[in-house]
């Protein structure tokens, strides 16, 4: 099962990179979401998938034979943070697209104007 999940994480990562390299901002946003999920899967596999028994121990019991809780805690933190950031990015991209009307990152040159080189003429 570890191998299957590792391959799945790899497939997610490949899809995320493909989407992130797009010039369309909407695709880049989708890429960010997939990237977050790829890395969450990666953390889950890194913690080894060993058992489906939840790690909730009532009485002081032997702690073997239960799932590793730490990757789950890490992933939960990452999901919450990622959710906040992705929400912000969606609003931001929506505003950016609303301003220009073109979904092409190459056309976004407000902050980096494509000026001709200036001659070092007069001081």
């Amino acid at each position: 099962m570890n191998v299957a999940f590792a391959l799945l994480a790899g497939a997610f990562l490949a899809a995320a990179i493909f989407l992130l390299l797009s010039r369309s901002l909407v695709r880049v946003l989708l890429g960010l979401v997939v990237l977050g999920n790829a890395i969450n899967l990666l953390i889950l596999v890194a913690g080894r998938l060993s058992s489906v028994t939840p790690p909730i121990l009532g009485a002081p019991a032997a702690a073997h034979g239960v799932a590793n809780p730490l990757p789950q805690a890490l992933i939960l933190t990452a999901i919450v943070i990622g959710f906040g950031l992705v929400t912000f990015m969606i609003v931001l991209v929506w505003r950016a697209l609303g301003a220009s009307g073109i979904d092409d990152s190459d056309a976004m040159r407000l902050a980096e104007p494509d000026l001709p080189p200036t001659a070092p003429a007069d001081y």
Binding site: I39, P71, M108, Y123
Partner: protein, 518 residues
Amino acid sequence: MQAASTPLAAWLVILPVLLPLFGGALLIAGAGRTLRPTAFAVLVTLLTGVVDAVLLRHVLVGGPLAMTMGRWLPPFGISFAADALGAGFALLAALVTACVLVYRAGGSDAPAAEARCLALVLVLLAGVDGGFLTGDLFNLYVWFELILIASFGLLVVGGTPLTVDATVKYGLLNFVATSLFLAALGLIYGALGTLNMADIIHAAGSADPAVMAGIGVLLAVALGTKAAAFPLNAWLPASYHAPSAAISGLLGGLLTKVGAYALLRTLILVLPAEGRFLHPALAIVGGATLLLGPLGAIATADLRRAVGFLLIGGIGSIVAGLALANPAGIAGAVVYVVNAMLTITALYLVAGLLEARAGSRDSLRMGGLYVSSPLLSALFIVLVLTIAGLPPSLGFWPKLLLLQAAIDLGSVGRAVGGDPFAQLLALCLLLNALLTLLAGARLWSRVFWRPAPEPAGDPVLVPAAVMPWAIGATTVLTTLVLVAGLWPGPILELGRAAAAGLLDPGGYIRAVGLGPWP
């Protein structure tokens, strides 16, 4: 569970994070009601600075100081650990933030909007301090995200098409960088079973070197993007010039330095073997950053974009120290971070004042400002000479340390033979000084020396008549740079102490409460 209660001194480690965090929360809660939000924010920042100073003194006298949350034994609980490196940078961060807050004191924003913006600045400071003081890699990721969300808010404030455009680029690339950092953490956890920095130092030795090399590369790429090292620097000149000058100065002074700090922390202290493995790559990246930063500044007419390129050139010095990785090299990198935090912020602040005077962002449309603002011309030339690293300035000392380190490693007479990468870095460091001087002098003569171009003034930026707070804060910061350059003893001492602490992790590990291992 630990039996003993936490000693009082250990609370010092967490206070620099808690103070601005609660200060920011109070500002949000009281937005609209607080009469003087700026005074409150400055007070909180200065208080944080005092705590940082006490912490730094404590660390320099008695060695690293640590505290583990929830009194869980160290490898399990989240540790905060302050050494000379972290405490020193935290003190500088508070100082720079205080100057920036005073700079924007005379602003015309409504009190409620002003309070929300100040709250974001305080949360940013909390995130930066948390990054500098944490002893846990996953916790470092959380602070990175806190810094990211606060800087999003500060960048996009106002919501003009320009700032939205800049924030999209800044946000996407930094989000990808933190995601890669998280992936590296997942792999570290998978390989070593721990994320506590002190514990990783111990565990990394027995791990598969091939896996650790991959993790090292991933960390270098993620944190290199955060630090804006070439070729991962594209987001910086696309975004830092868009917000107001005060915010530019704050982000320029603090954010890339957290990335540089994390590189020093991970590749020198936590995973030194991976740092050595990356030596050739880091040397090439450092050299390229050193040259391409000032070249970008020469090619740019927008004043604050040019400052951004000078910032990137400086990051090259830090990466160079990382690549050299001997005591003088690391001390040079640490002292350079101190220099850059003060100087780059001050340069952004001066650039903001100049833009307000000239009514334009474009240095080609400024001119003749020497007549109207001789003080600003003096401040600008002092800061430019400091960034170029001319002898009596603060920028000279880290360059000297780095050159010593590079020449020492590169000398052919040594037993190991000359290291070609160190020779390359020595050359790049000298060329960087020349190119930076060229870029700075060009800007200075354009803005101050040549006569004003005819259609002066741009309706976008309204010239402010008098800005006593802004000019005062900029003058104080520049004077600090000047005095620190003439009297560099304490900063050099801090650099040496930080380098010693990074190269010999024994004290750090013991402070966290782990080791010595059998």
